[in-house]
Assembly symmetry: C2
């Protein structure tokens, strides 16, 4: 006998997890389609040098890398950005410019598993490449807003987008004459939430060689995000000493968000710098009001060259990535209605004497399915109702349509234990009423 | 510069491939849900001994197997059946009995790539475990029928299910007193389509030591599949010499299919034996009338113990697997309407002067999206229409809503080159009419 275990850091998805996850993914796919993003997919396995670039470096230890049977050095993809860059370079001529894609699939990393961190997890990326202007920037933000508005049933107080611009911060460092230290400073600033103000101040003093500059940097990134966006923008311009391309871009994006009527969900937050060198324009993170400890659930920014490793074509772009597993964990904590129904079916048809009722049962099942109602048939003669309740319970099926040996048909609602007699003709309507009622939980 | 290549046997999925694939998968998922199957997922990577059982053997060379950074012997899953068995053994107590699951995801095999065969491909499996009776058998067949009826828009002449029963064949071999040779005989018979009658006859004569028995076997597996199901069943019972549990099960299943009104899509075909030892009851394959050369696109059968490697619990089951990539290739050849639309959006909004029209454009886009109409916005001022047509062409977007500098709005249909002026109020209805019209291709 082999022990049925999964690898450390990996996990199965049982129906009660997979059903809401599929529902969330389907919703997101629908929204990306509404905005004209196309789905793509890439192989799980690629040449290691394609995934790592020539160098490799730190990421190296974190990836699943091996020699395949043909002696090739291959690795499992560790994100969806690198494969996207390779993809655009390879298929360039058949893709439009701009090109808008989404990609929802698994990636693998060998890092040490921690709470909420796994070695196999989903990424959900959407990007617009081949355009660098405020319309594209605002469209990514609008798509994010549509996603979270949908997830939270139009309760816009449930989420908040914090946005900033890399250029703003760089211009500020210019004004302090410490721009040459920007990489170290960015990394330090990015740790603010983790290591606290005092430690950040100490490190910044070291890096800039000046306590005064360190305090100025700290005050730059500490703007009050509850203040109106444009007020914060003016405040930051004041600290920098002048307007600039970056602040003008932010102003233009904000104007478009206002025209769309969604501006009130966006805060200008100069503490958002995002660690990666990759970003060159706006950067953003998304926080859930009810789950602050979970951190950002959707982040991204503008970059000025996606695929420079693989092609000479310059491809500026802007994109965003939803942390699906983290978002699901947050929605779980928040008891989101989106995750409520984990049922495999809406109705379970069960009979005391299947042989005599089968024809009628499948006819009713057929009609219910025609109406889009998910219908399961219990495949045994019912001897004890307990077995049926156990089956419906484990599969979270709310309704049972029970056909007894007296040829009566009863519709039982397992949620409130109610029961009513129904004729074949009444069945579809009775089921529909139950599902759309106050306790209705149809997917 | 790194060459942007993918590994041999692997491939990207560009939007024109991924859009119809996603649509097919969504349709199938919907049907599985209508029948009460639950989705599950398992890790791509597992312990090698869990995937291979203790032995290993032939499959060994075909799998992607390596030592991970922690020194574990791991491999990429090569099918969804083995992980399902491991899954049921691991999560047994939280799953219902019977348990109905579907699983659509990628698997990996190191075999040499041939036309239509890849090292990474999708499998789409659905199974009912924990029950062994005619209801469960018929439900899998009914689900298959619903899938193909949906794919072929209710044209039931487009597909045909060929079914048989392992027991029938074994009983026949019993009657010839060659049951001890059944493994070799099954393998030979399975090659009929590939190597032809004469060669099969020669091999069978060798294996049974009798030309007469070889001819009898050949005539047993050559029953005329165009004859009515029950007539064939009686003919085969005649060859065996008696009725049996197997023929009774087939009769009972057929009666249920008749009650459901779908029996006419099923042929009894004694040449269906399926190579694998695994199957113990009914076995079946699915052929497309318009694409005979492509072979079976959906196959499966009944097995009497899914998870014996991992648990003492006996889990009989019945299941089926749709060859998604093969089915897609066939639908492509057949110019299926299901694959017709590969558009990233239904409408593209473009403007000569975005700055002045943006507010109106996003308002209209918002309204169209509210109606479920997929709407893309061209992110540049239009200088030449050619660029817009190029964009809509590469993304197969049928309609363009063009806002010119005179503030007129025109709805252009790229399919017939027609054009009409519309006011903002008329836009949604005009777009909807265009999409639902005779050339309507909305997803």
């Amino acid at each position: 006998m082999i022990e049925p275990v999964v690898l450390k850091g990996f996990r199965d998805s049982v129906p009660s997890q997979e059903i809401p996850k599929r529902r969330l993914i389907t919703k997101l796919e629908g929204i990306f389609s509404l905005y004209g993003f196309s789905p793509i997919d890439t192989p799980a396995l690629e040449y290691t040098n394609v995934l790592l670039g020539k160098g490799g470096g730190e990421t190296d230890k974190q990836i699943f890398r091996f020699e395949d049977n043909g002696g090739r050095d291959v690795a499992l993809r560790f994100d969806l950005t690198v494969p996207f860059a390779r993809f655009v370079a390879l298929h360039g001529s058949e893709l439009s410019r701009p090109f808008k894609r989404y990609h929802i699939n698994k990636v693998w990393r060998g890092e040490n598993p921690q709470k909420g961190r796994y070695r196999e997890f989903y990424q959900c990326d959407f990007d617009i490449v081949g355009v660098d202007n405020e319309y594209a920037d605002s469209e990514i933000l609008s798509t994010m807003d549509f996603c979270f508005r949908t997830i939270f049933s139009s309760d816009s107080s449930a989420y908040r987008f914090h946005i900033s611009h890399r250029g703003l911060f760089n211009e500020f460092l210019d004004s302090l004459e410490v721009r040459d230290k920007s990489v170290e400073i960015l990394r330090t600033v990015d740790k603010l939430r983790k290591i606290g103000r005092d430690e950040v101040l100490r490190l910044l003093s070291e890096e800039t060689g000046s306590q005064d500059k360190a305090e100025k940097i700290l005050s730059f990134i500490s703007c009050d995000t509850s203040r109106p966006f444009l007020e914060n923008l003016e405040y930051l311009e004041g600290l920098i000493g002048h307007e600039s391309e970056s602040s003008e871009r932010l102003r233009a994006i904000y104007a478009l968000l206002e025209q769309e009527g969604i501006a009130s969900s966006f805060s200008l937050d100069s503490s958002i710098t995002r660690g990666l060198d990759y970003y060159t324009g706006i950067v953003y993170e998304t926080f859930l009001t009810g789950a602050p400890s979970i951190g950002s659930v959707c982040s991204g920014g503008r970059y000025n060259n996606l695929a420079s490793l693989y092609t000479k074509e310059s491809l500026p772009g802007v994109g965003s990535s939803i942390g699906l597993d983290r978002l699901l964990a947050a929605l779980e904590d928040l008891h989101s209605p989106l995750l409520e129904s984990r049922s495999s079916a809406d109705v379970l048809i069960a009979s005391e004497d299947k042989a005599s009722s089968y024809e009628e049962d499948v006819r009713i099942a057929g009609r219910l399915r025609q109406e889009g109602i998910r219908c399961d048939i219990y495949p045994f003669n019912v001897k004890k109702m307990k077995a049926v309740y156990d089956y419906s319970g484990k599969n979270s099926i709310p309704l049972i349509l029970f056909h007894n040996w007296k040829k009566e048909r009863m519709l039982k609602d397992t949620r409130d234990q109610s029961s009513q007699t129904v004729t074949e003709e009444e069945t579809v309507i009775a089921v529909r009423n139950k599902l759309s009622g106050p306790a209705g939980i149809q997917a």
